[in-house]
Symmetry: C2
Subunit: 193 residues, 2 copies
DNA sequence: ACCTGAACACCGTTCAAGT
DNA sequence: ACCTGAACACCGTTCAAGT
């Protein structure tokens, strides 16, 4: 890649990160190009689809989550490992409003630029779930797709301004269903502080 | 209202129901008008916003859900009543893809044509939850907004083609968290059939 | 190689003009 | 009263023309 092109690309990514943080993943591509002082066609040249742009933005985060998952797979408590990874996943989806919907769509669309990362993410969760089922207190009637769906629904809650304040609490509620036998942190808390 | 206007309105509602059933709540208003063989301005004249159109489409369903909730409030089992109402709510949101997001937004927006109905809906759920907490096995650390949020997240699952097949199963999982002490139907089932 | 203006087919909003 | 074509300001896609 030519030097000016690389610089353009990096500038576009930085601006896109700002705009999408403000307006969510459905932000206008034209608006992103405008704020980056390039033509719309130039943005599309670097990132031919919205998914491609998202993929580039999420790349770092995805890699970090994957590394965390790998670490957690050998951590002492399988239950804690599962809960921690779930929390990380949901937290990372909070950076860009609407990104969870893109990820769920990408899972079913092999052509999506996000497909591979999302499938890998689900696989990591599936491994942590399997270990928590075998050696910990995770219920056995759910699989990796169920876990991904629950994580997705929790991330969706965080996207809704009127529900976001409840997201942390409801995370605990859902976790209590996934780990009914675990002595996890919130197990004994039946009333709010 | 003039007779021709009423006929137009009814025709528009019927067509809009079809189109939104097919394409979800973000279907093009122009497309709805086109399929109804009227000008776009005529559709907007009857329903000045997308929410107003949705409100008219959901009116019947909302009233039915409210009536059901009223019945359930005096039914013998508070736990069953809560679960049944939750199930009805989630099922009704399944008719129009994306409608749950509109409802959640409407709860926070007093100007929305859907606001009143959604607030009433949440209130009905809150009453059923309170009874299940007082006389049944519902956990006491959640309130009506939490319940609405959980119901919303389950409805959202149903909107995602890749996750919808899990919606019924995950409904049971979430219910098991809301009613940890209840002898509900799925309590003993720890593996899938 | 890389960039971009312009044409295109869409969208929802608004309103003056028609019946 | 009720309807609607047309103008408007948007959107993402595409590509011929420029540097």
């Amino acid at each position: 890649m030519r030097a000016d092109a690389r610089k353009n690309r990096e500038h576009l990514l930085a601006v896109a990160g700002d705009v999408i943080t403000e307006q969510g993943v459905d932000a206008s591509m034209r608006d992103i190009a405008r704020r980056a002082d390039v033509g719309l066609a130039t943005l599309l040249r670097h990132f031919p689809t919205r998914e491609a742009l998202l993929e580039a933005l999420l790349r770092t985060n995805f890699d970090q989550l994957a590394a965390t998952a790998a670490d957690l797979e050998t951590s002492p408590s399988p239950d804690d490992a599962l809960v921690r990874w779930l929390r990380d996943f949901v937290a990372s989806a909070r950076d860009y409003r609407g990104v969870i919907a893109s990820m769920v769509t990408a899972i079913a669309d092999e052509e999506s630029a996000l497909h591979e990362s999302c499938v890998a993410m689900r696989a990591a969760g599936t491994r942590l779930l399997a270990r928590a089922q075998a050696e910990g207190g995770a219920r056995k009637d759910i699989d990796g797709t169920d876990l991904f769906a629950l994580a997705g629904s929790l991330a969706w809650l965080g996207d809704q301004p009127s529900l976001a304040p409840r997201a942390d609490h409801l995370f605990d509620v859902v976790v209590s269903a996934v780990l009914p036998l675990a002595g996890h942190a919130t197990a004994g808390r039946k009333d709010r502080p």
